[in-house]
Each structure stands twice: as structure tokens, then as C-alpha cells.
């Protein structure tokens, strides 16, 4: 057999036949929410008018508020929601077996509209305020999620985001108070969070300690350290906890766009850094040498090693970089939105950011959108608290976490983490 037979095996990619799987998850969830909408419309109806304010007094272009009759609107939207749920049923029963994502998205927006209309009967929903609040709560989540994406793409699970955020906030507060320079404080936040990263990297990469355990321990350590210094030093000497905040820099032109302009472009430099960071991380991961090597190290470290990439060094420095990115999110607390350090002020944002990483399937853009969603849910709870909703406030406090659980467990389904995520690379 010295002659070569013509290749019978095609070199084309193998396309596996897909099994028709009818997933009833989406129709059931939509059905339950449609039922809730029907309850709002018919069983517990609220009458009156609901006002949605669209402009603040300082806006250049004033939009008239949107006023809708409460009961009629809720009824109409509830009927639409029932139709959408039935549509999802039809997709599963007669169509491709799975309800498309857009149905869920349209459903969610409509449901939200109905719910707000119902809750705020004879009251006022400040739409710009809600969006500003959403962004404010999302910024640390997004920086946290970006740091998570960088680290996990390289194969190191970053549970320590919470600790990095908190230590970043703490470092920024102290250094900002001492120097009076917000820029130096921001750098301090990055360095501080990077120090947390160094510990994570050293233990998990060099000493092969379980990454999840190191991360959890680091979170506890940072909470302990910062709380100690807060009560022993910062409370007795408040001059150490009064950093100079970043000023708001409205971007000319862009900040005059109705509704969105003030939300997105009347912000501090940290928020503008975030826009750039999201783009840079995405571009870097998928278009540059840095990203290619980082992903290779997280997917198949041995393959990376055999082409001469130093796996553990790559991992180490990218975990450090991830820490620096998260640190900016920490600085946002003390140099922008709050203005001073408070005990355990991050309040679990790091864990929500971790959920955003998974919900966003380790993709920087999707993780950002997930961060915005979680930020919105958190903010919704406080807005409803202020305008006074008929739903008990304890339930509202659960809202962001319920949304997180639903999003991660319900909508993601099977998502594929980087293959070597969480496994140390041991050279034999």
C-alpha cells in the first residue's frame, strides 16, 4: 500500500446532527409572570394615573412627562404578556423546540412597564433618576466582571473580586485623603487591589492551593483588615477618610441627548474609563497577541507551554492585571459615588460581579450587559422603596439576588467555562 487513496474523510468540519429538544423552561417562566400580570390587572387593580418623568430640571431639552391611565395600561400590557407567553409555547410546541431570546427580552421589558405602572398609580416614576442609579450601581459590578473575565480566561478563578473591590475602595480613600489627588488615589486603588491579586496568584499558581478557597479566605481577610482599620483609625481621625472626589465632567454635546445623555455622559472620569475598559478588554482578548496567549493558557495550558509560552508567568501577571481593573471599580465607591470609606461598603457587589462573569459567559461585552441588569435590579428595589410600593420591602431587598439566581440558573443553561479554569498547571 504505497499509493495514497483519495481522502475519503472530508477535511470539512464535522457537523453533528442536533437532537430536537423541547425546552419548556422559558414558556413556564413567562407563563408564571404573565399570571402575575393578570393578578395585577384584575385581582389587585390600582386605579388612577401613572406619571413617568423623562427629563430633569437641568436638562437642555425638556421632554414632557408620559402620563398613562393605570388600570387600562396594566390590562392591555397583561394581555400582551399572555400573548407573548403563548407565542413562546408555540415556538416550543410547533417550532424549533426552544423559545428565542428576543421573546424573553420583549416580555421582560413589557412586564417591567406593567409593574411600574401598577406600583406607581397616582405617583411619579423618575426615569432619568432610575437610569442614573442603575449606572451608579453597575460601575463596580462591571469593573469587577471585567477583572473576573480576564482572570478566568487565563484559568484562575477569581472569587476574590469582592476583596479586591473593598481593598481598592479602602486604598483610594486613605491615599486620596493624604494626597488630596484623586488621580493618585485611583492609582492607589489599582495597586491595592493588585496586592490582593498577588496573594491570590502566589497561592493558587505557585503553591497550588485551591483557587476557590484562597479567594474566599482573601475576601474574609480584606473585610477583617479594612473593618479593623476603619474602626480603629478612620473613625478616630476622619481626615484620613475624606478623599477628594473626582469632579463631574459633562461631555459637551453628547450630554445634551435627551434621557440617555445625562445618564451616560454627565459622569466622572471613572465612568469614562469604564467605557474604554470594556472596549479594550474585548478588543484585547480577541484581537491581540496578549488575548490569544491569555485564552490559550486558560483553555489548554500544555499546548501553550509546548509553543514556548510561560503558562504560570502569563497567569500570574494577568491575575495581577485583573486585580488592577477591579481596583478601579473599588475606587468608584470612595472617589465618586459615596465619597468616603465605610465598613464592608461593597456589600456583596463582588459576588454579583462573579455572577455577571458567568451570566456573560466569560465575554466582556455580555458580562457588562449582565452587570447593567444586576445594577438595574438593585436600583429598582431602592426606587420602589422611595416611592412606596405595596410589595413588602423585605421582598424588594431580595430582588437583585432573585434576578441573579434566575439569570444564572435559568437563562444561561449550559455555558462553557474556559477549559482549564480553576486548574493549576503543574509541569511534570
Amino acid at each position: 500500500m504505497t499509493t495514497t487513496a483519495p481522502a475519503p474523510a472530508a477535511s470539512a468540519p464535522i457537523v453533528h446532527e442536533k437532537a430536537l429538544v423541547r425546552s419548556w423552561k422559558t414558556p413556564i417562566i413567562l407563563g408564571v409572570f404573565a399570571l402575575v400580570a393578570l393578578l395585577m390587572a384584575f385581582v389587585f387593580p390600582n386605579s388612577g394615573e401613572t406619571t413617568f418623568t423623562l427629563s430633569t430640571t437641568v436638562d437642555a431639552i425638556q421632554l414632557a412627562p408620559l402620563v398613562v391611565p393605570t388600570q387600562i395600561t396594566v390590562i392591555v400590557v397583561a394581555v400582551l404578556l399572555v400573548l407573548a407567553a403563548l407565542g413562546a409555547v408555540a415556538f416550543v410546541r410547533f417550532g424549533p423546540g426552544r423559545a428565542p431570546l428576543w421573546i424573553s427580552v420583549v416580555f421582560a421589558v413589557l412586564f417591567l412597564f406593567a409593574f411600574l405602572t401598577w406600583v406607581a398609580a397616582d405617583k411619579n416614576i423618575p426615569v432619568p433618576g432610575m437610569l442614573v442609579g442603575t449606572l451608579a450601581l453597575s460601575v463596580p459590578l462591571i469593573f469587577g466582571a471585567l477583572g473576573g473575565v480576564i482572570s478566568e480566561r487565563g484559568g484562575v478563578v477569581n472569587i476574590a473580586i469582592e476583596g479586591q473591590l473593598l481593598f481598592g475602595a479602602f486604598s483610594a480613600a486613605i491615599i486620596g485623603s493624604i494626597t488630596g489627588q484623586p488621580v493618585i488615589a485611583l492609582i492607589a486603588a489599582m495597586v491595592g487591589a493588585m496586592l490582593v491579586s498577588f496573594v491570590l496568584a502566589a497561592f493558587s499558581i505557585k503553591y497550588l492551593v485551591d483557587q476557590v478557597i484562597v479567594g474566599v479566605v482573601l475576601n474574609v481577610l480584606v473585610v477583617g483588615l479594612t473593618s479593623f482599620f476603619y474602626s480603629k483609625v478612620l473613625t478616630s481621625d476622619p481626615s484620613l477618610n475624606s478623599p477628594v472626589k473626582f469632579p463631574i465632567w459633562p461631555i459637551p454635546g453628547l450630554s445634551e441627548i435627551p434621557i440617555l445623555g445625562p445618564v451616560l455622559f454627565r459622569q466622572t472620569v471613572i465612568v469614562y474609563i469604564m467605557y474604554i475598559a470594556v472596549f479594550l478588554v474585548w478588543f484585547g482578548l480577541f484581537k491581540t497577541r496578549w488575548g490569544l496567549r491569555l485564552r490559550a493558557v486558560g483553555e489548554h495550558p500544555q499546548a501553550a507551554d509546548t509553543v514556548g509560552i510561560n503558562v504560570n508567568r502569563t497567569r500570574f501577571w494577568n491575575v495581577a492585571l485583573a486585580g488592577a481593573v477591579v481596583g478601579i471599580g473599588g475606587a468608584y465607591y470612595t472617589l465618586d459615588v459615596v465619597g468616603q470609606f465605610g465598613k464592608e461598603m461593597t456589600n456583596g457587589a463582588g459576588f454579583i460581579a462573579l455572577a455577571a462573569v458567568i451570566f456573560g459567559r466569560w465575554d466582556p461585552i455580555r458580562a457588562t450587559l449582565a452587570g447593567l441588569l444586576f445594577g438595574f435590579a438593585t436600583n429598582l428595589q431602592s426606587v420602589l422603596g422611595i416611592i412606596g410600593s405595596p410589595v413588602p420591602s423585605d421582598f424588594m431587598l431580595m430582588l437583585p439576588y432573585v434576578v441573579t439566581i434566575f439569570a444564572v440558573a435559568g437563562l444561561v443553561g449550559v455555558s462553557r467555562a474556559p477549559a482549564a479554569d480553576g486548574t493549576p498547571y503543574i509541569k511534570s
Binding site: 495514497t4 481522502a7 474523510a9 464535522i14 491581540t288 485564552r295
Partner: protein
């Protein structure tokens, strides 16, 4: 480039994996490194590639001594390696895999994907590879993935190419194509080291043959040597290459699979509408290239696959939907394909491993308590019966050699009352002596009137054992043919060709 290894010695603790090995490979020459599994071939090549540091000896390229601190250095010096387990990132495209580690960039670190694509196309065209630079590697057939590995080495201008057991995952046709590629590379002046334990391939392409046994060079052989000569050099004694078995005396249809389908977590069919029967006292071999649904099929028989539809009956009893416990109780013996992962608990002793599937009820458990005495007697008996070479029954399974580990698995599975025996890749990675033993045992099970299914990707094994052969391709059965079907017909079937394979 001329490659020379002088007195390479590599120790792992007390074990000497390479003992003063000398090897010279001239440009334009295919030099075969022949040896059994565990003889130290891969260790030697990992030393050459900079993955291991040699304890003694030196590596010379064109008579210059080299010092490789890592694979990066070896590659820079012109050594390329096609690994047995491909070193490709499955979720990357071909171009990304090829450029990884020596990326061409524009501006500040921005990848020049166009240049990488062009490079892949150029090499691909030069050797007639037909590889799409934008295909995702994990979606490519294994044979094509291997070409990506070759392109990867060539794109770095490799002058010395090492092929580490390259044919283990290929169909016979793909193997022939690979041989042609190797000859083409040789014509182009590349020095090639070809590591294998398959005698047929060695005799086909080798210019020179070096045989290694237990970490030492035992001599050179000529490509004209017979299989028996090569085998006895490799093993160190005369070996039977074909096992003697009487013709099958099949009874009634005992095991019937009909329209079996298995869906994986990504909603894809991995087994689709598979139907076959096995009669009592016959061996049905399931042939096919790795990853065509054989693993999932055997797991479905055992009840390990949750999304299974269709029917599997053993002596008229339906097995689909039953728990693994019930399937075992129905008399199914199972040798999993990965003995270290699924067959044994490495940290358990031989005795404990021997009772793994009998932890419910007597004789080894009474009122929730282990009957250690009974277990010890049983284990001692099996140790002798299956010729398990170990210090005693309390030796940890993880410390045994591959052959002895497999004997422990066989001893456990064959010492129950069986009504069906399924052996998946029963001799993968074993030495010749153990292979003989395992094959004999399988034939004995058949002769005892048990229906036997052997899943193997090694055509030699299939041909040696089978009374009938079912060939699997992409989740389906291409055809079921008699055991004496010629190899080239089987080879075509393994590539999915149904024509001419009428059974």
C-alpha cells in the same frame, strides 16, 4: 539538519526511564523508534523537545551541543513535534493555533490574522493538506487536526520533525495519507523521528529502526526484518502475534440493541438509531476511530447515559431506564476504556478494588460491615488466578503497571456470574505480554457461552478477536461484517463508506 542524541539518561526517582540512549537522525531520513508502551520513547522525545531536562547526556544539532530550557528553545532550533495528544486549543481556529506563540502582529500587539491565514494556506497547499484556516479545531476530524499539528511545526521552519505515536487516532486510510506526507517531508530534506509500536507502519516507511526496551537501546533493525523478528526484539522474547481461538459456536440471540440513540448535553446525537444483536458465545467487535460514539454506546448499555432512547434487552429483559446497579445485577460485566479514571480507585488497595461493584450485600458485606477475611481470601485467589504482579493484595491499585491494573479490572468483572461482557479498549496502552493475557481471557469468556462486545480502535485487535465486526462512524453503525473481512474494507467503513461493505 542532523540530530544526534548522546548518552541521554533521564530518571524519575528510582525509575530510569532513559538509560544512556544514543540516536542519530540524518536529514532526509525517517528514523523509527520502536518500543512497547512504557519503554521510554516518549520520555526521550520530551527530553529532546525541552519538556524534560536530561540528567545526563547531550543533544547535538549539526554537531553543535544544544541546551534547551523549554520547548520554546527547541522550536527555535528547528525541532518540531507532532504530539500524540494534540497540543491544539480546541476552541481556537486553525490559524490561531498555528500562530500561537510566534504571532505576527501589526501595531501594538494586534494580531495579523490575514498573514496567519496566508501562512496556513501556503503550507497546506504545498503538501496538499486541504485545511481551512478559519475552521474551529474541535470541529475538525482527528486526521485533519493532526495536519494542523504538522502545519504548526512546519510554520516554524522545523528541520527535525518528531511524530509521537501519530497513527493511534487515525483510520487506516488516514494512516496511509500520513505515511505519504512523511515521505514527502523526507524528500524535502526533513529529518523525521517516527515513534510507534506498530510493526506494520515501521516496515512501511522506516529507513532505519532503533528498538528500545525498558529505557535502553537494544539494537538497530533493518526495515526488511519480519514482524516476528521486530516483535521479539521489542519484547525481549518470542511472542505470538496472533492468538489462537477456535471457531465460534454461537447460540441464540442473547443481547439485542434496537434503535438506540443517545443525546449529549449539547443536544447533539452522539449515538443515532443503532441496532445490533450479539449471540451467546460470540464476540462482536465494535470498530471505529475514537470519538464516533463507541464510548457513549457502552455507557448507554451500562445505564450511564441519562438521555438514552430505544431499547436494549439482555435475555429478554429491558435495560434502558434501569439504574447501573440493576444493570450490573442483570449480569453485565464492563471494562471501561479508561481504567485509571473509571475502572479503578487508585488510592484503594487491590482487594478493595476487587469488591467495588459488590459493596451491596454478601459475601463481602454483612449488616453494613466489610467482611475483610472473605475479601482477603477472594483477593488472594484472584491475584493468583489472573497473575497480577504485585507485592500483595494490600498494594494500592495506582502503584501497579498498566497491565496489572487492567488484570485487576478483568478479575473483578469476570468473577461475577456474567450474562454479557463488554470490554472497551481492553488493551490500550498495555505491553505485549498483557495483551496476550487479556485476549485469552476474553476468548475464554466467549467460549463459556457469554455474549461478548469488544470496543476497539485498534484494527489489529478487532481482527484478532472478532467473530463479527460492527463499524461505527459518527454515531451510527456503518455495517456489520464477518470477522474475516479484509482490513482495507474495514478501513473504508471506518471512514464512513458504506459501498462495497454489504454484509
Amino acid at each position: 539538519m542532523k540530530l544526534e542524541l548522546r548518552g541521554i539518561t533521564k530518571r524519575f526517582g528510582a525509575l530510569v526511564a532513559n538509560d544512556h540512549i544514543d540516536l542519530t537522525v540524518e536529514p532526509g531520513e525517517i528514523h523509527c523508534l520502536l518500543g512497547e508502551n512504557g519503554a521510554g520513547k516518549s520520555t526521550l522525545m520530551n527530553v529532546l523537545y525541552g519538556l524534560y531536562q536530561a540528567d545526563e547526556g547531550e543533544i547535538l544539532l549539526d554537531d553543535e551541543v544544544q541546551h534547551f530550557a523549554g520547548p520554546g528553545d527547541a522550536m527555535k532550533s528547528g525541532i518540531g513535534m507532532v504530539h500524540q495528544h494534540f497540543m491544539l486549543v480546541p476552541v481556537f481556529t486553525v490559524a490561531e493555533n498555528v500562530m500561537l506563540g510566534h504571532e505576527q502582529t501589526r501595531g501594538p500587539g494586534v494580531l495579523d490574522l490575514a498573514a496567519a491565514r496566508a501562512r496556513v494556506r501556503e503550507i497546506s497547499d504545498r503538501f496538499g493538506f486541504d485545511v481551512d484556516p478559519d475552521a474551529i479545531v474541535e470541529e475538525l476530524p482527528v486526521g485533519v487536526q493532526q495536519r494542523v499539528e504538522i502545519i504548526k511545526a512546519l510554520s516554524r521552519d522545523a528541520q527535525v520533525l518528531v511524530f509521537d505515536e501519530p497513527t493511534a487516532v487515525l483510520t487506516p486510510q488516514e494512516t496511509d495519507e500520513l505515511m505519504a506526507i512523511m515521505r514527502q517531508l523526507k524528500e524535502a530534506g526533513t529529518a523525521i523521528v517516527f515513534i510507534t509500536h506498530k510493526l506494520r507502519e515501521v516496515r512501511e516507511v522506516a529507513d532505519r529502526i532503533t528498538v528500545i526496551r525498558l529505557g535502553k537501546v537494544v539494537g538497530e533493525a533493518s526495515p526488511q526484518a519480519t514482524n516476528t523478528e521486530l516483535a521479539s526484539m521489542m519484547v525481549g522474547r518470542a511472542v505470538e502475534l496472533t492468538i489462537s481461538k477456535a471457531p465460534a459456536d454461537p447460540g441464540a440471540d442473547a443481547f439485542v440493541v434496537s434503535e438506540l440513540s443517545v443525546v449529549d448535553p449539547r443536544d447533539q446525537y452522539v449515538v443515532k438509531d443503532v441496532s445490533f444483536t450479539v449471540r451467546a458465545g460470540e464476540i462482536l467487535a465494535i470498530a471505529g476511530v475514537q470519538g464516533n460514539g463507541q464510548t457513549e454506546l457502552t455507557e448507554a448499555i451500562l445505564g450511564l447515559q441519562p438521555r438514552t432512547s430505544g431499547s436494549i434487552t439482555l435475555d429478554g429483559v429491558e435495560l434502558v431506564g434501569k439504574s447501573v446497579r440493576r444493570v450490573l445485577d442483570a449480569g453485565v460485566g464492563f471494562v471501561p476504556e479508561d481504567r485509571q479514571e473509571d475502572g479503578l480507585v487508585a488510592e484503594f488497595t487491590i482487594a478493595e478494588n476487587l469488591m467495588l461493584d459488590r459493596s451491596v450485600g454478601e459475601p463481602f458485606v454483612k449488616v453494613g460491615t466489610l467482611q475483610l477475611r472473605e475479601l482477603a481470601d477472594f483477593a488472594q485467589e484472584k491475584l493468583e488466578e489472573f497473575d497480577i504482579r504485585a507485592q500483595g493484595i494490600d498494594t494500592h491499585a495506582g502503584r501497579l503497571s498498566g497491565g496489572n491494573q487492567q488484570k485487576v479490572v478483568l478479575a473483578r468483572e469476570l468473577s461475577r456470574e456474567l450474562r454479557l461482557f463488554v470490554a472497551s479498549q481492553p488493551t490500550r496502552g498495555l505491553d505485549v505480554g498483557s495483551i496476550e493475557f487479556v485476549h485469552t481471557r476474553i476468548v475464554q469468556a466467549r467460549d463459556a457461552g457469554i455474549p461478548v462486545i469488544v470496543v476497539s480502535t485498534e484494527l489489529d485487535e478487532v481482527v484478532a478477536l472478532a467473530d463479527r465486526i460492527a463499524v461505527m462512524y459518527r454515531g451510527g453503525i456503518v455495517g456489520i461484517v464477518p470477522g474475516d473481512t479484509p482490513r482495507d474494507v474495514l478501513g473504508l467503513m471506518m471512514a464512513g463508506e458504506t459501498t462495497g461493505a454489504a454484509a
